[in-house]
């Protein structure tokens, strides 16, 4: 029974990682940038939800929408000012600005909210569900449901809509996409908006499960989600989901059966092992450099 519980916990954190990993993978797919600031957008999202709940006294779902809108705008703003001017620079340069933006967001949060962790109210209460002999909390159920629905919607968006097609075109070949009349700037901005919006949902769901918010929650959370994206094959939406669930389950099993402190090391070790066997991640394709 304990094993089943750990798996369910794994799916719970895994689905949060998935929401965040999608942001990394979409941005990487389209501008080939490891967006180090993504983790801190999550943190900002959590704070916005917290403020909406405690100051504006709105229901949880409205708080999430406020956070999604706020973070989407923030994501676009970051892209416009920190990454867009460097689109043609060497790849390491925007990486450094991303690190700069990450530091900036953390420090702004520290100034505004102080470094002390703030408690997050209990928003999803109610009786846990019973499945056979296993008790599953409502938070867990809601988190998994919301994540799965959002992932399906995103997949449909990318496959079925015009904007989704534009995104795929730009990530394939930005130059050719421009020639086909696709507005690259808008496409990239929308990608950042969607990624950051999903991160806000991820942040909100994370805070309901681990009810504390501080300026640093984004770092480790972002890092793990990023690893999930790489593990699954960066640039691939299904890869991000697969990677996230693997990371989530591995982490929970390690915590449950080995040691809670070693869980991070195990996660990294799995990543390294997978990359050695499949350098482009589980679902990634090895792209041969044209000679």
């Amino acid at each position: 029974m304990d094993f089943v519980l750990q798996i369910i916990n794994g799916l719970h954190v895994g689905s949060i990682y998935a929401l965040i990993a999608l942001g990394y993978t979409m941005v990487y797919g389209i501008v080939k940038l490891i967006n180090f600031a993504h983790g801190d957008v999550i943190m900002i999202g959590s704070y916005v939800v917290l403020l909406s709940l405690t100051e504006l006294h709105v229901p949880f779902w409205i708080a999430i929408i406020v956070a999604v809108v706020f973070c989407a705008l923030l994501g676009m703003l970051i892209e416009r000012f920190a990454y867009k001017p460097l689109r043609n620079a060497s790849r390491i340069t925007p990486l450094i600005t991303a690190i700069g933006v990450s530091l900036l967001l953390q420090n702004i949060a520290m100034k505004v909210f102080s470094a002390n962790p703030k408690p997050f109210p209990n928003v999803i209460s109610g009786e846990p569900f019973q499945f056979g002999g296993v008790q599953v909390g409502q938070v867990t159920i809601y988190t998994i449901l919301i994540s799965v629905v959002l992932m399906v919607l995103l997949e449909l968006f990318v496959l079925k809509t015009k904007m989704g097609k534009a995104m795929r075109a730009v990530s394939e070949d930005a130059g050719a996409a421009t020639l086909m009349g696709i507005n690259i700037n808008t496409t990239i901005a929308i990608t950042f908006a969607i990624g950051s919006g999903l991160a806000a949902v991820g942040g909100a769901l994370y805070s309901t499960a681990y009810p504390i918010v501080d300026p640093y929650i984004g770092s480790m959370l972002g890092l793990k989600a990023f690893i999930a994206a790489v593990l699954g094959g960066i640039g691939k939406i299904q890869g991000a989901m697969l990677g996230a669930f693997i990371i989530g389950i591995t982490e929970c099993l390690t915590k449950g059966y080995v040691s809670s402190q070693l869980s991070e090391a195990v996660v990294f070790a799995i990543l390294i092992l997978v990359l050695l066997v499949k350098p482009a991640g589980i679902l990634g394709q090895n792209i041969r450099e044209k000679v």
Partner: protein, 322 residues
């Protein structure tokens, strides 16, 4: 053109300037202009120069983004500290043996990480080294002989201005002479175009590992100097942020410029100290500077060029005499 004759004048100019800098600083310490607080900053600058020039070898000259330099530094710090604590060598030589042990341990780990990691291109190496840095940190936290989360105590005080200065010089000298040789050209060719390097007969795998290992070795040395300076070390001192700090120095100085890395190490070590007065806003300002520096000077302070004292002197001479 004779290669030897071309290089001798700049060797002489650099040697004289270096000795002058050393004498000036030690005199200023002697007469008390530089107090212990400033001396501490100078020692940290020296350590940061070693870290950034060694990272520059892999990231600047080899062109492979590494995000786990602090991991190698921590191996050097712990290995040399444990050596000093446990070995009973005469005081005068123990420290240097400890540093060597630190460097060699870091180099060995560098080889072990490098062999699999360097097969991967581009951003993946960055991720593997990042993962490696985190694993090292977690392992240190969970081991007994490293002192775990409480940290490692009882490291003898051995790092001072003189030995930091000369070890820093030695590091710069070694890295620069390697770069300015057939080995360095091979390393730079990999940064420029790996496929063309292979086609020109460069054993790229060997040179990637060579540069990566040499970089790790000096990171280990820097770690040893650091642990014998601050005397209590714990895993948190070598986290991801530390790796980023070193990377930022390299990038701001100019990837592939040793003098750039040195100038940036000096500036970026002093800057936060100045900003201490606005300590609340210190990291905020640091972040903004980072972003603006990248947007307006994406190639860093010096790009891939080197600052040459000889050229400065020749320029002054032309202005004054001619």
């Amino acid at each position: 053109m004779n290669v030897l004759k071309k290089k001798i004048p700049s060797y002489i100019v650099n040697a004289i300037s270096v000795i002058a800098i050393y004498l000036i600083i030690s005199q200023l310490v002697w007469i008390g202009v530089i107090n212990n607080y400033y001396l501490g900053i100078i020692i940290v600058i020296g350590i940061n120069i070693i870290l950034s020039t060694s990272l520059n070898l892999t990231t600047g000259f080899l062109g492979q983004l590494t995000l786990g330099h602090a991991g190698f530094m921590s191996i050097g710090a712990y290995a040399s500290a444990l050596f000093s604590i446990n070995a009973n060598l005469p005081e005068s030589i123990e420290f240097y043996f400890a540093l060597l042990v630190g460097g060699i341990c870091a180099a060995i780990v560098g080889i072990l990480v490098g062999i699999p990691a360097l097969r991967l291109r581009g951003d993946y190496l960055a991720i593997i080294t990042l993962g490696f840095g985190e694993i090292i940190r977690v392992i240190i936290l969970n081991l007994d002989f490293t002192g775990g989360a409480k940290g490692l105590f009882g490291i003898p005080y051995a790092t001072n201005f003189t030995n930091v200065f000369f070890i820093m010089l030695l590091t710069i000298y070694i890295i620069w002479t390697v770069i300015d040789s057939r080995h360095g050209r091979a390393i730079k060719s990999i940064r420029e175009d790996e496929i063309a390097a292979e086609a020109a007969g460069v054993p790229t795998t060997y040179y990637k590992l060579f540069a990566f290992t040499l970089g790790s070795f000096f990171a280990g040395i820097a770690g040893g100097l650091y642990s014998h300076y601050i005397l209590i070390i714990d895993a948190a001192k070598f986290d991801f942020n530390r790796s980023i700090e070193i990377l930022v120095i390299v990038v701001l100085g100019g990837m592939g410029s040793l003098t750039g890395a040195i100038l940036a190490a000096v500036t970026l070590t002093i800057l936060p100290e100045y900003l201490r007065e606005f300590s609340e806003y210190r990291m905020l300002i640091y972040a903004v500077i980072l972003i603006f520096a990248m947007i307006f000077r994406p190639k860093g302070l010096l790009g891939t060029s080197e600052f040459s004292l000889l050229k400065v002197f020749q320029f002054i001479k032309r202005k004054v005499i001619g």
